[in-house]
């Protein structure tokens, strides 16, 4: 089959590889009908995530048709259309039974690597380094799905792939980020980063009762998309206000907009490659370039300074290692709660599918580019270097 393989920093190629096979009773093989490049794939592309090896198949947002099932899978049949969560969960350990799916104890065959780095191993992920399982990803014609009786969500009706694909990651990720804010009626939320996850976080915050959302970025087209409010209805939503951090000082703007109180919660939808033009951001770049730190946390510092006292910082953006100048003083002094972690996708797929069915949201609004799988190297390059125009890329095998 054809697959998108990582071969090193900024080196992604289409290669012919052996077809996946059933290895365990609870496996299934999915013929991929639509897959996407995630913002977190760019962290791999840029070489920020350790334990990648040349030849690894990328991709953790995918959906398709079941073509083969293991003897232990009772709830699926050949021909079923499914969306697959990006994290792999056994469904039976302490964490899965407690609905903490992204912390599954049993799905990472390379758990010792993550344990060495983090003390414990989170769940295995599709196509996201050997430390997180070494599983082949879904940017391919076929993919093996372990614990297929637990993760995949069946799509019964005639819904288009483009409307449901993002249930695999970014829609639940944005939604969980908003949920982690503990939003109460009338809250003000500030979202850093208007990439795909940020866009879903903005809309989810409104769904959960926020009265006002500030969207922060410096790419005009992303800010425009954020302002368009409820997808499908392309009019400006006056509950959403945008801040271009190239033109405006974020802290000052938010303080004057909230009468000095600050947003009730801040969402960092940027993660470890956060950039900015301030002194601390420059310092981060130097530190990372000289290997004295791995993660840049400019956004996190700004959020800690901005959020109201006793407020919440929710982090859906990916972090991987260690950061410098962590704002523990502001966090302690203001009594800030930080909520973060990989998304427990399994909890959100069904309820969010219902929202899509009720047309409360059309997730395909995020797609800006459609490519054939063979064009993946160009797609990665475009997504990486033209973040203004290129918001979300889907690949069709």
């Amino acid at each position: 089959m054809r697959a998108v393989c990582w071969n090193g920093t900024h080196d992604v190629r289409i290669e012919r590889v052996p077809d996946p096979e059933i290895l365990n009773p609870r496996d299934a093989i999915v013929r991929v009908t639509l897959t996407a490049i995630c913002g977190s794939d760019l962290h791999l592309y840029d070489g920020y995530i350790p334990t990648m090896k040349a030849g690894d198949i990328l991709g953790h947002e995918f959906m398709g048709e079941i073509v083969e099932i293991g003897a232990g899978v009772q709830n699926l049949r050949k021909g079923d259309r499914v969306v697959v969560p990006f994290n792999i969960a056994c469904g039976r350990c302490y964490f899965c039974t407690g609905k903490m799916w992204s912390c599954c104890d049993n799905s990472n065959p390379n758990a010792w690597m993550a344990e060495t780095a983090y003390g414990h191993s989170p769940a295995g992920l599709f196509g996201y380094s050997h430390m997180l399982g070494g599983y082949a990803g879904g940017q391919a014609e076929y993919v093996r799905v372990p614990f297929a009786d637990t993760g995949p969500l069946k799509i019964h009706n005639g819904m288009r792939d483009e409307e449901v694909l993002f249930l695999s990651d970014i829609f639940p990720t944005g939604y969980q980020a908003a949920e982690n804010c503990g939003i109460r009626e009338g809250d003000t939320i500030a979202v850093w980063g208007c990439g795909p996850v940020g866009q879903f976080a903005i809309r989810s915050a409104l769904m959960l009762g926020a009265e006002r959302v500030f969207a922060i970025d410096h790419f005009p087209q992303r800010l425009d998309l954020a302002r368009q409010g409820h997808p499908g209805q392309f009019h400006e939503d006056d509950r959403i206000e945008t801040i271009n951090f190239d033109e405006d000082e974020v802290y000052d703007h938010l303080m004057s907009a909230t009468g000095g109180r600050g947003p009730d919660a801040c969402i960092d939808a940027v993660g470890l490659e956060s950039h900015g033009t301030t002194v601390d951001a420059l310092f981060d770049r130097i530190k990372v370039a000289s290997l004295l730190a791995t993660d840049r946390i400019h956004v996190l510092r700004q959020a800690a300074r901005t959020v109201r006292k006793n407020g919440t910082i929710s982090i859906p953006g990916v972090y991987g290692g260690f950061a410098d100048k962590f704002p523990i003083g502001a966090i302690f002094g203001k009594g800030i709660t930080i909520r973060c972690g990989q998304t427990h996708v399994h909890n959100y797929m069904q309820p969010l599918l219902e929202r899509i069915e009720k047309e409360e949201i059309h997730p395909s609004f995020i797609i800006s580019h459609r490519y054939n799988l063979d064009e993946a190297p160009d797609a990665y390059k475009n997504f990486r270097y033209h973040q203004n125009e290129c918001r979300k890329v889907v690949l069709c095998p």
Binding site: A3, C5, E15, R16, V17, P18, D19, P20, E21, I22, L23, N24, P25, R26, T51, K53, A54, G55, D56, I57, A71, G72, I88, C90, G91, R92, C93, Y94, T97, D105, N106, S107, N108, P109, N110, A111, W112, M113, G124, H130, G133, G134, Y135, A136, R144, P146, F147
Partner: protein
């Protein structure tokens, strides 16, 4: 930890030879004196501090090492525990049926039960060397504990261990603890080698415990299949397929490859 871990004889020899080398080194007028000077200083420090970092790193302790039969024989000690979301009864009955152990223990090839208390074991060691031993159960409490040791005359590996099971606080499954020691062949060098090998037996045992949990909770051992071009010719992908086609056989493929 800075405690004494070398014996008196080694200490005296280190001090003696070290001083000798330093005197010899200082006597040389040319650069040839540097090497004995450095080596002698090292030995002197080794003797004075009576502590070796190298020994500590590879787990040699000449004073506190227990179970010493021969001055050069050293034991390897593994102690690990894991919480499993199953009852003590389930875990005990699966483990006590020793034939099940090769399903999740990577190095155990086969187990044969001879009678209630005796069993014969066969294992793969480093460099494809095979080990065999006969184990005798010394103590057994149903659903709680199994204690065993090898019978020397029928074994080429000395080994003893205790498996214990107890209820986790708050009824959150069962805590399994495994404590075992064995004496690798090759004495002190064997023990050092065992620690330095990529498939360090102690680490493999902790992996085995994790695989046991996967088997007991998820019903299977998680495996990845790295379908990529370079591996297709190395045999690893082939191995994945062979293993994958045999139902009931569980063996990790991707995990064995060190980074």
């Amino acid at each position: 930890m800075k405690s004494t871990n070398i014996g008196a004889l080694e200490q005296i020899l280190s001090l003696g030879i070290g001083s000798g080398l330093i005197v010899h080194g200082l006597g040389q007028k040319t650069r040839r004196g540097i090497l004995p000077l450095l080596f002698g200083s090292g030995l002197l420090i080794h003797g004075l501090t009576s502590h070796s970092r190298l020994y500590e790193a590879i787990g040699i302790d000449e004073l506190h090492g227990s179970h010493i039969r021969h001055p050069l024989n050293r034991t390897v000690h593994f102690r690990g525990s894991i919480t499993i979301n199953r009852s003590q009864e389930d875990l005990y009955s699966f483990w006590r049926d020793f034939k099940n152990l090769p399903r999740f223990m990577q190095n155990i090839v086969a187990v044969q039960e001879l009678d209630e208390r005796h069993s014969r074991w066969q294992a793969r060691g480093p460099f494809n060397k095979n080990f065999y031993w006969e184990a005798e159960i010394l103590e057994e409490r149903q659903n709680e504990l199994i204690k065993w040791r090898t019978i020397e005359i029928h074994s080429n590996l000395e080994h003893e261990g205790v498996l214990s099971l107890r209820r986790a606080v708050g009824n959150r499954g069962t805590i399994l603890s495994l404590d075992c020691r064995w004496t690798p062949p090759g004495g002190i060098f064997g023990a050092a080698m065992a620690k330095l090998l990529p498939d360090d037996p102690a680490r493999q045992l902790s992996e085995d415990l994790r695989r046991f949990r996967q088997l007991m909770e998820a019903g299977e051992i998680s495996r990845n299949q790295r379908a990529s071009v370079d591996l297709d010719h190395s045999g690893l992908a082939r191995k994945a397929r062979e293993v994958g086609n045999k139902p009931g056989i569980v063996e990790s493929v991707g995990t064995e490859q060190p980074l």
